[in-house]
Amino acid sequence: MNPGREKPELVCPAGNLPALKAAVDAGGDTVYLGFRNVSNARNFEGLNFSREEAKEGILYAHARDSRVFVAVNTSPNSHDISPWTSSIDMASELGADAVILADIALLDYAKKHHPGLRRHLSVQASAGNYEALNFYAREFGIKRAVMPRIVTLDTICDIHAKTCVEIEIFVSGGLCVMAEGRCWLSSYVTGDSPNMNGVCSPAHAVRFEEENDSLEVKLDGVLINRFAPGEPAAYPTLCKGRFEACGMQGHVMEDPYSLNALEMLPDIFAAGVRGLKIEGRQRSKHYVRTVVSIWRAAVDACAADPDAYQARAEWMTGLDAMSEGGAHTTGAYVDEWR
């Protein structure tokens, strides 16, 4: 079992080399990234790492005692598995500290071909119970799992007690309201999915149209939101759109809030969580530097004295200012959200 009182590791996003350096410089213990292909769940245009960039990033991080995880967390098709397997091979060759995998075919590949490379279970595997985690550990030797955003902190505590697999949770940034890896809304509307294509509500399908003073957002021709004049419009993710149900119009699935678990940090420490993950590989180096700095300060303060810890007002406003909706939630970690 994990000691539980160990200071958790801050796992930070990087969509490019400047963001990686910003994360390391701001005190990120670990940076996670993906290669520039279909193999990772943030397969966005203009994002991610070439082989040379990843090599430089890993050298930069290692020279400063930071680690690098490589996400290969979409599912391969049966026609050509090579973009996925070559990404795992490259992560191993470049000295990545772990690969983050979701598909069982890839877990099996990594175990057989790179037994010394640490394997983490991606949030995209949607493993939200200890039976699943223990299965992945037994069969494929995973050392850590990122929890889907469907479990309460109480449940995370219980899971931690019944598995040797380290637990990593999302604490900050964009919030999936569905169980990751079990959501096909994006392919239902646009034809492209997180699991198969590494995208959700892809930019190529988004259109903004002025209509009677209001701004309409369409995704592949489907109206998913309408903004009043002057109302701020964040990136149009499907599940945060406005729809109608029971005769009421509004955010039927989720408000456009960002996840922020700063106030829960002592409970997160006590739950034995090993990794605190910040979402946002698609965000700028400025975003990464600001958010990682705040979280570094908070984690250090909580580690120094968890009983005296309080989320400082400037941290909260700092994170709100960086979030897409300008407002925050603790999401599924507390029962009331449900």
Partner: protein
């Protein structure tokens, strides 16, 4: 007449995905059993454990009763178990299935693990995300004897995924598509309630709650913690192609009404009594099937669309 390569295919009725009272579920399955057109029955709560008011015992009793009609019965497990009570319900179903010498449908890796440890062969369900041959092989290694591939896969991928595995393949061929799972109950949210105090409000919507775009266009169906397609998917007109790809079983997913007719249309197309396209036309009440159904995923397109063959 339709080509008769369909004749070795079977029809399965999937688990009821909506919130129905136990009495309605019993009545639904027993009525189908008396008609006798279905080969395989899946039953069990897949979506939300809060719906199983009296636990899994009644499902096991119903399974016994259905078996009396001489057809195969499979116990379906919960798709997103997180807490101990939910895991225990899976263990109970596995124990019951073992005692009855029937299979479970595993809809989460936890159920794969529990069935595999118990030495029980299982159906790898549609929520396990089988996208490729390697994953399918791993499921076989754990004891899967049948698999339902991911619903968003293009049909043209099916043969490559099956490859040389000796496993039965079942295709989700008709019904509203289960698209997501969440921690949040959207039916409760739409009714101004929370999941904790949901009052089983999903039971008011036996075919799910309609969700529209702001311009009034239909968008999707709310089913508790799940979002489903607005329209039922159907692959009735692609039956022969699916048989050619190696699909053994076609799954029809329950809706509140008209299931007997849907199954009859599938049966007559399968038996060659009616051409599949005529059966589809009849099932659409003579209208354009595209105004009633969707099939985009079959063609590797947007799931919400209807693509003419």
């Amino acid at each position: 007449m339709a080509v008769n390569c369909n004749q070795s295919m079977k029809i399965a009725v999937g688990p009821v995905l909506f919130g129905w009272p136990e009495a309605k579920i019993r009545e639904f399955y027993l009525a189908l059993a008396k008609e006798g057109s279905v080969d395989i029955y899946y039953l069990g709560e897949v979506v939300c454990s809060k719906r199983s008011i009296s636990g899994v015992i009644w499902q096991i009793d119903l399974a016994r009763e259905l078996r009396g009609y001489g057809k195969e019965v499979v116990l379906s497990t919960l798709a997103m178990p997180t807490v101990e009570a939910e895991l225990q319900s899976i263990r109970d179903l596995v124990a019951a299935a073992k005692a009855m010498d029937i299979k479970i449908e595993a809809n989460d890796v936890a159920a794969v693990a529990i069935a595999s440890e118990a030495g029980l062969s299982f159906v790898a369900g549609p929520h396990l995300n089988i996208y490729n041959h390697g994953m399918l092989e791993q499921m076989c290694r754990q004891g899967a004897e049948r698999a339902v591939l991911s619903l968003e896969l293009p049909a043209m991928d099916i043969a490559a995924i099956i490859g040389d595995t000796q496993i039965q393949v079942e295709y989700f061929a008709h019904g509203k598509l289960p698209l997501t799972f969440s921690a949040r109950c959207y039916t409760a949210r739409a009714e101004g309630l929370s999941k904790r105090e949901c009052r089983h409000v999903c039971f008011l919507y036996p075919d799910g709650l309609e969700m529209r775009c702001l311009d009034g266009e239909g968008f999707a169906t709310i089913n508790g913690i799940q979002i489903m397609s607005q329209r039922p998917f159907t692959a009735l007109n692609h039956m022969s192609d699916l048989a050619g790809m190696g699909v053994d079983i076609l799954r029809v997913s329950p809706q509140a009404s008209g299931m007997s007719d849907v199954i009859a249309h599938f049966r007559s197309a399968m038996d060659g009594a009616m051409a599949a396209r005529d059966a589809l036309f009849a099932m659409s009440d003579g209208r354009d099937p595209g105004s009633t159904f969707c099939n985009g995923y079959y063609h590797g397109r947007q799931g919400r669309l209807w693509i003419k063959a």
